[in-house]
C-alpha cells in the first residue's frame, strides 16, 4: 500500500509524466528501427541522465528500455525485420498475419501482449524482487547449460518431414555462434583472419539480412500476384474474442519472460524464443504456427516485455545487470550515488516506487500509443512492393551500418540476405537458425565452464537438481511426439474406423 502511494506521488508530478511520455515515444521509435536499440540510445543519453535528479534520470532510462523492447515488434510484423533481436520470434507469425491483410490485428495483439507482459513482469518485481533475486543464485553454468538444451530440444519435437531440416538449421545456427575468438581459449575460429569476425557474428546483423533481405528476394517472385487488401480490414484491431483466446498464452509468456529475465546470463531474446517454442510445442494447432497464428505473436511479445521487468530484478536487488541496457542503467545508478542491493529496498523505497511507477506508466502509455498507431502503421502493409521493399532494404542496410559505422557489417547482412532466400526456398525455417545462434553460444560456454568448475567431470551437471529437471524436461519434450504417436496408434487399433489424425 505504501508502495502504491509512492507510485502515485511519482506519477502525479507533470514533469515526470512528460518525461515518461517523451522517453516512451523515443524508445518505441528507436526500437522499431532495425539495428539500433535501447543500448545505444541509453548510452547516448547517459551524460545527460546523470545531470538529472536520480529518480527521474533512472526512470527515463528504464522507460526507454521498456519501450524499445516493444518497438521492435512493429517492424517485425510489418516488414519482417526485427527492430531488436528480442523481436525475432515475433516475425515468425506476425509477418504472415500482415501478409494476410491482418496487420492491424497483429500489431494490436503485439501491443496488448507486450503491455500485459510488461505490466505483469513489473508487478512481479514490486511484489517479490528480493525473493526473486535469490533465484539468480541458483543458476550457474550447469543450470544454464540444461536450460539452453531445453530451449533447443523443441527443434526435434516438431513432427513432420522437416525435422531433419530443422535440425540442420539449428546446427548451422550453433555453428555460426562459434565464429570468433573462443571464450575459453581465446583462439580464433572460422574468422578467416578478418578482425571484424573476431567478436563473433552480431545477431542483429544476421537477423536483418536473413529476414528483411531474404524476404525482399522472395517478394521479387511474387510481383505478379495481386494481393487484395482492404484498408478497413488491414487496420482492424484484434477483437475481444482474440483477446479472450490469448489470455492463457499471454500469461504463460509473461511467466516464462519474467523467469528468464531474472537470470543474468539470459535476456529478452532467449525468453521470446523459449516462449514461442513452448506455446507451439503444447498448442493444439501446431500447424498454424509460422503461418500466422495469433498465439505466435502473443507469446514472444508477452515474454520479451515481461523480461524487461525480470532483468531489472537482479540489477536493482543484486547490483548485477542481466543485459546491455541494464548494465548502463546500473552505471547511471552508481554515478547518481545509488547503491543497488537488498538494502536499497529498505533505505529508498520511494526510489523503487518511482522506477516501478515509471515502467508501469510506460507500458500503459505505449498500450494506447500502439493501439492508435496500429490503425495507421498497419497501412504500411498496403504500400506496393515496388515502393516498400527498396525502402526496407535501405533502412536495413543503413541500420546494419549505423551500429558500428562499418561497411563490413552491411556486407555480412547482404550475405545473410542471399542465404535467407535460399533457405526459405528449400524449406529451412528461419527459427531454428536464430535459436541455434542465440542458444548455441550459451550451450558451448556453459558446458566449458561446467567442465572447469567440476574439475573435468561433466557428469556433475546431472547432479545439479535444477539442471537435471531441465534436462529431463528436454527428454520428455523430444519424446512427447513419439509418445503421442504411440498413444494414437493404440487408439487406432482399438478404433479401426476413422482417421485418428483428423480428430
Amino acid at each position: 500500500m505504501e508502495m502504491a502511494y509512492q507510485v502515485l506521488v511519482f506519477l502525479s508530478d507533470p514533469y515526470n509524466l512528460l518525461l515518461i511520455i517523451g522517453g516512451t515515444t523515443l524508445g518505441v521509435f528507436i526500437g522499431a528501427l532495425p539495428g539500433l536499440g535501447s543500448v545505444v540510445m541509453i548510452a547516448l543519453l547517459l551524460p545527460f541522465v546523470v545531470r538529472m535528479e536520480p529518480l527521474p534520470g533512472i526512470a527515463l532510462t528504464a522507460v526507454i528500455y521498456v519501450a524499445a523492447t516493444y518497438g521492435g515488434s512493429i517492424t517485425a510484423i510489418l516488414i519482417n525485420t526485427p527492430g531488436t533481436p528480442a523481436a525475432a520470434a515475433t516475425t515468425f507469425d506476425g509477418y504472415p498475419l500482415a501478409q494476410r491483410g491482418e496487420a492491424g490485428r497483429a500489431l494490436g495483439i503485439a501491443t496488448f501482449s507486450s503491455a500485459t507482459g510488461g505490466i505483469l513482469g513489473i508487478l512481479a518485481m514490486i511484489v517479490a524482487t528480493p525473493l526473486l533475486a535469490k533465484l539468480a543464485f541458483y543458476f550457474g553454468p550447469a543450470e544454464y547449460f540444461a536450460l539452453a538444451v531445453f530451449g533447443m530440444s523443441m527443434l526435434a519435437s516438431i513432427s513432420g518431414n522437416s525435422v531433419i531440416k530443422n535440425l540442420i538449421g539449428g546446427a548451422f545456427g550453433v555453428l555460426l555462434g562459434t565464429v570468433g575468438s573462443d571464450l575459453a581459449t581465446g583462439i580464433e575460429r572460422f574468422t578467416f583472419d578478418i578482425p571484424d569476425l573476431s567478436e563473433g557474428i552480431r545477431p542483429i546483423q544476421m537477423m536483418i539480412g536473413l529476414f528483411a533481405g531474404g524476404e525482399l528476394l522472395r517478394q521479387s517472385t511474387q510481383l505478379g500476384i495481386k494481393r487484395e487488401l482492404v484498408a478497413d480490414a488491414v487496420a482492424k484491431l484484434p477483437s475481444w474474442d482474440d483477446i479472450k483466446r490469448l489470455w492463457g498464452t499471454v500469461l504463460r509468456g509473461s511467466g516464462i519472460g519474467t523467469f528468464i529475465g531474472i537470470l543474468p546470463a539470459e535476456g529478452g531474446t532467449v525468453a521470446a524464443m523459449i516462449a514461442y517454442n513452448e506455446e507451439r510445442r503444447w498448442s493444439k494447432n501446431k500447424d498454424e504456427f509460422g503461418k500466422g497464428a495469433i498465439e505466435g505473436v502473443a507469446a514472444p511479445e508477452a515474454a520479451n516485455n515481461a523480461a524487461t521487468g525480470g532483468t531489472m530484478v537482479p540489477t536493482l536487488a543484486l547490483g548485477i545487470p542481466g543485459g546491455g541496457s541494464t548494465a548502463i542503467i546500473l552505471t547511471a545508478m552508481l554515478v547518481l550515488g545509488l547503491r543497488p542491493g537488498p538494502q536499497l529496498f529498505e533505505e529508498q523505497p520511494e526510489f523503487l516506487a518511482g522506477i516501478f511507477g515509471a515502467m508501469l506508466a510506460a507500458n500503459i502509455y505505449f498500450l494506447f500509443l500502439g493501439m492508435i498507431g496500429a490503425k495507421f502503421f498497419s497501412r504500411i502493409s498496403m504500400v506496393p512492393a515496388t515502393f516498400l521493399w527498396p525502402m526496407v532494404f535501405v533502412m536495413a542496410a543503413l541500420g546494419a551500418f549505423s551500429v558500428q559505422q562499418s561497411l563490413f557489417d552491411v556486407t555480412l547482412m547482404l550475405i545473410f540476405a542471399f542465404l535467407g532466400y535460399f533457405m526459405r526456398r528449400y524449406g529451412y525455417a528461419p527459427a531454428p537458425i536464430v535459436m541455434g545462434l542465440i542458444l548455441g553460444e550459451l550451450i558451448e560456454g556453459s558446458l566449458k565452464q561446467s567442465y572447469l568448475i567440476y574439475d573435468g567431470s561433466l557428469l556433475a551437471i546431472l547432479q545439479q537438481p535444477i539442471a537435471l529437471v531441465f534436462l529431463a524436461l528436454s527428454v520428455i519434450g523430444i519424446s512427447s511426439p513419439l509418445i503421442g504417436k504411440l498413444i494414437l496408434n493404440r487408439k487406432e487399433r482399438m478404433m479401426p474406423v476413422g482417421d485418428p489424425l483428423d480428430e
Binding site: V39, V40, L46, V50, F137, P195, I320, E441
Partner: protein, 320 residues
C-alpha cells in the same frame, strides 16, 4: 533559403571565434572518438562521460563510434586511416598495447601519443564471504585443491591479471573459469561455484554491502579511500598492482598545438563535477585523471611490462 549556408558559416565563425584564434583552426569539424569495444560497455561509458564536457570546452561535437574486432585492431586501423589533425581520437587501453605487440596492425608503440588518462579502476581480490578469511588461507587451500578463479575471456586483460596474481600470491593449483558477462562472476562467487576473482569496485559493491562476498585485498599501492579497511596486496603478500586503466590518445603526426588543446579540454572537462561523480560511482578519486606526461610514462611502462610477461606466457605467439 539560399543564404542559409552562408548564415550558418557566419554564425559558427562568431560562436567559435575565441578558441579558433588561439590554435590555428582546430577544431574545424566534428571530432570522432573511436571506441574499440561494444556500445554500452565500460569503455563506451567512460568515453561518454569524458567527451560530454570536453566537447563543450572545445566547441565541437564529439561522436563516440564503436569499431570492434581483433581487440583494438579495427579501431587502430581506422584511426590510422584518418588525417592526423586531431579530429579523430581514440580510447587508449592496455588492450591497444597488446594489439600493437601482436602485430595485427602496421603500427608501433611510437605511433601512439597518449593524451589524457581518465580512469584507474583498481582490481579487487574477491572471495565468498565465509569461504576464506585471508590470502594465506586461500594459498594453503590451493596446495590441496584447485582454486577456481573467475574472469572474462581467456587471453584478455582480466585473464592476464589473474595469472600474474596467482603467481605473485603463490597460489599453487588454480583453474581459470571464463564468463561472458562480468555480472555472472560475482554471482558465482556468492553462490560458491567459483572461489575468487579480480573485480572492479562497481561490480562488487552491492554484494559487498549485502555481505555475500568479501574483498581479501586491493591490488593497489595504497589503501583505497572508498575501502579503508581492505588491505592492499602488498600488505598481505601479493606485491602486485592491477587496474582497468582507460585513457585517450591520438596518432603521432598530430600537430603539437592540437594535442595541447585536446589535453587541456579533456583534463578540464574531467575535473568538472559530472565526471568526478562518475569516478566516484566507480570508487575512484580525482587522482585517476592525468595529463599527457604522466599518461605517456605509464603507457611506456605498461608496454615494457607486457613484453616481459607476454613472452613468458607465449601470448604473442605469431600465427603460423
Amino acid at each position: 533559403m539560399k543564404n542559409l549556408p552562408i548564415l550558418a558559416t557566419a554564425l559558427s565563425a562568431l560562436l567559435f571565434a575565441a578558441p579558433t584564434q588561439a590554435q590555428s583552426n582546430f577544431p574545424s569539424q566534428d571530432i570522432e572518438v573511436i571506441n574499440n569495444s561494444k556500445p554500452g560497455g565500460g569503455t563506451d561509458i567512460f568515453l561518454r562521460f569524458a567527451t560530454a564536457e570536453a566537447s563543450k570546452i572545445l566547441g565541437a561535437k564529439m561522436l563516440v563510434i564503436s569499431k570492434t574486432g581483433g581487440v583494438a585492431t579495427n579501431a587502430l586501423k581506422y584511426v590510422a586511416s584518418k588525417p592526423r589533425d586531431g579530429h579523430t581520437v581514440f580510447s587508449l587501453l592496455p588492450g591497444h598495447l597488446l594489439t600493437i605487440m601482436r602485430g595485427t596492425t602496421d603500427l608501433t608503440i611510437d605511433d601512439i601519443v597518449p593524451v589524457v588518462r581518465g580512469t584507474i579502476d583498481p582490481e579487487l581480490f574477491v572471495v565468498k564471504a565465509d569461504a576464506f578469511n585471508s590470502v594465506k588461507e586461500l594459498v594453503a587451500t590451493s596446495k590441496t585443491r584447485s582454486i577456481k578463479i573467475g574472469g572474462t575471456k581467456v587471453g584478455g586483460n582480466a585473464h592476464v591479471a589473474s595469472i600474474i596474481l596467482a603467481r605473485k600470491a603463490g597460489i599453487e593449483k588454480y583453474t581459470y573459469v571464463p564468463f561472458r558477462k562480468s555480472g555472472e562472476i560475482v554471482l558465482n562467487i556468492a553462490s560458491g561455484r567459483i572461489d575468487a576473482a579480480l573485480l572492479n569496485f562497481d561490480e562488487v559493491v552491492s554484494q559487498l554491502k549485502s555481505g555475500s562476498v568479501k574483498i581479501l585485498a586491493s591490488m593497489t599501492p595504497k589503501r583505497l579511500s572508498a575501502l579503508p579497511d581492505v588491505p592492499t596486496g602488498h600488505e598481505v603478500g601479493i606485491p602486485y598492482n592491477a587496474a582497468v586503466i582507460r585513457g585517450i590518445g591520438v596518432m603521432k603526426g598530430t600537430p603539437e598545438p592540437v594535442i595541447a588543446a585536446l589535453e587541456k579540454a579533456f583534463t578540464e572537462g574531467m575535473n568538472k563535477p559530472s565526471y568526478l561523480k562518475y569516478l566516484n560511482g566507480a570508487g575512484q578519486s580525482a587522482s585517476s585523471i592525468a595529463g599527457r606526461a604522466e599518461w605517456t610514462a605509464q603507457i611506456k611502462e605498461m608496454y615494457a611490462n607486457f613484453q616481459e610477461i607476454g613472452e613468458e606466457l607465449e601470448l604473442l605467439k605469431k600465427k603460423k
